[in-house]
Symmetry: C2
Subunit: 324 residues, 2 copies
């Protein structure tokens, strides 16, 4: 190592000056810092990873990169991890458990320090490796069933329930459930939604679920389907604000008053929800915080801090606006 030679110390001292400066005499440290600057030295992470058997890389797996929801979660992850000195490898699972397992395998080759996942339960492969090589994982978005593993999110069931209760309380008699992009979280929102309707004695028969990705155009399409099949429908809960925006545009195109003829509720509070005309009632979800807190929980584990508990419920908030 040229830096060691330049500073007149051993490579060990250079290594220590970088990782644990307190253990190095100030004079040595200063000479090392000067040498690093002079030579433009950049430490070789691969060597560090090989020697220490762990890296500063976190494997992050999200369902989709084209969904604004997950992007904000990535921002939260990035903010915490970059502060903590970690990099991350981002993988897109396409909402598939198999794809997620496959990406975990690939990433394992990089000796990641940990994983941030979005599956609703643990993978066998990770259980095996987590036990073997102590690679911790935190799951995001939904809450685990128990405190057995680590998860950060909110109750998708409660969120669906809350929207339905809101619509019922405002006198809507025939609310629809509209969704695209089959995924377990969406199904849980649906579960909560149906539960509230049933409790209120309303038949939960109006729903359209499409497997395709969520887009604004899809929202317009879903609204058309509902109007065709259930002309008496007076409110729609769209599983994502993309769909809600499309539904709003379709109502405008047909001259249907919102919320007079058709109420619209969305989910996530994406950037247009608050300033649409009319503004869109939605559930504000803690997407950024989920990423930030999940990263924090993971790093705390890596650093051996005591973790109070395995589940962190960040909650959500109903934003009542003009569209309902």
């Amino acid at each position: 190592m040229d830096v060691a030679h330049e500073a007149g110390v051993s490579t060990m001292t250079v290594s220590r000056a970088l990782k644990a400066p307190d253990l190095v005499q100030e004079q040595s440290r200063e000479r090392i810092i000067a040498a690093i600057a002079k030579l433009g030295y950049v430490p070789n992470q691969a060597a560090a990873t090989l020697a220490s058997a762990r890296s500063q890389v976190i494997g992050v797996l999200v369902p989709s990169l084209t969904n604004a929801v997950f992007i904000e979660t990535l921002s939260g992850i990035r903010d915490y991890l970059s502060e903590a000195g970690y990099q991350f490898l981002i993988g897109e699972t396409g909402y598939s458990r198999e794809k997620e397992a496959q990406l975990i395998s690939t990433y394992l080759a990089h000796a990641p320090a940990g994983f941030l996942l979005s599956s609703s339960d643990q993978h066998e492969i990770l259980k095996k490796h987590a036990a073997m090589r102590h690679i911790p994982a935190v799951r995001m978005f939904d809450l685990g069933k128990s405190n057995e593993d680590f998860s950060v999110g909110f109750s998708q069931i409660k969120a669906g329930y809350t929207i339905a209760r809101h619509l019922i309380d405002h006198g809507y008699k025939r609310p629809a459930f509209l969704a695209a992009q089959m995924d377990p979280r969406m199904l849980k929102r649906r579960e909560g939604f149906r539960k509230a309707l049933q409790e209120a004695g309303i038949v939960a028969d109006i729903e359209v679920l499409l497997p395709d990705p969520t887009t604004v155009g899809m929202g317009a399409q879903l609204l058309r389907k509902v109007l065709e099949s259930w002309p008496d429908c007076d409110a729609v809960f769209c599983c994502n604000d993309d769909l809600a925006l499309g539904a709003l545009f379709e109502c405008q195109r047909r001259g249907l008053d919102v919320p007079g003829r058709m109420a619209i509720a969305g989910f996530n509070d994406l950037s247009w929800a608050a300033c649409a005309t009319p503004s869109i009632t939605t559930i504000i979800t803690p997407r950024y915080e989920i990423g930030y807190k999940a990263a924090e929980m993971l790093i705390d584990q890596l650093r051996g801090k005591a973790i109070p508990k395995g589940r962190l419920d960040l909650g959500f908030e109903l934003a009542v606006r003009e569209s309902t």
Copy 2:
């Protein structure tokens, strides 16, 4: 290496079976594959990187993760790179050259095989390392001035010019330029926009540029400013469809007919542009293709393929819709 022992060959043969199967006898290869499956072997990338002095990781630096534009570019990058067997480290530069240079330094420690950047010109640090360690880089979104370095994108100036010509040709007399998020690409669109107005003998005096990030709410705000200061304005070009959507909502809120009283043009063709009411005239940009082609150009360089030229102009398309 346990796999070598299990298969009764040397570690070298295992290595070859993985990287260059053609060089290994079929029998050996089969035994090695069986041993890998049996033992659940995952190759250690850090060791491979250290030994070969290069990794399968590409450093990708985009201005922002919260902008849908760059996300689609990441999708293109991912599709090409994952097919080619590479991973990528994503960094967010916040539209700052300094931050980009700093991230390059950090990533250099991972011995990346190459870089995909979004700055408008090369960094000193990279020039130094690219020369030293042969780390190639491809720049995305805008086109380089010369064929000296590699870039994939389209002409931002022409795009701005095209929108302005369209507005002029449709008889608008007082078009405004609205933008947020100062960045060099936006300034080039402005340059083209002003040029077209000047050629048509129109004074290009109506513009509002804010440094803050682009959001839908910001679009509404920009439209209010324009109406206050230039009540005779009859058309707005919003530098991004987020802004255009906000401007449309603000017009709806004020009861201004679009395009009768106010024409609105956007940029990028984000998902709502085509299905808004009215649908929004915009420039369709090849975001996904930029990522895909930039990745391809980078990998081709890494594999020593002859690259026809340094600049790849992917063009753009004007989508004329109801809002103008």
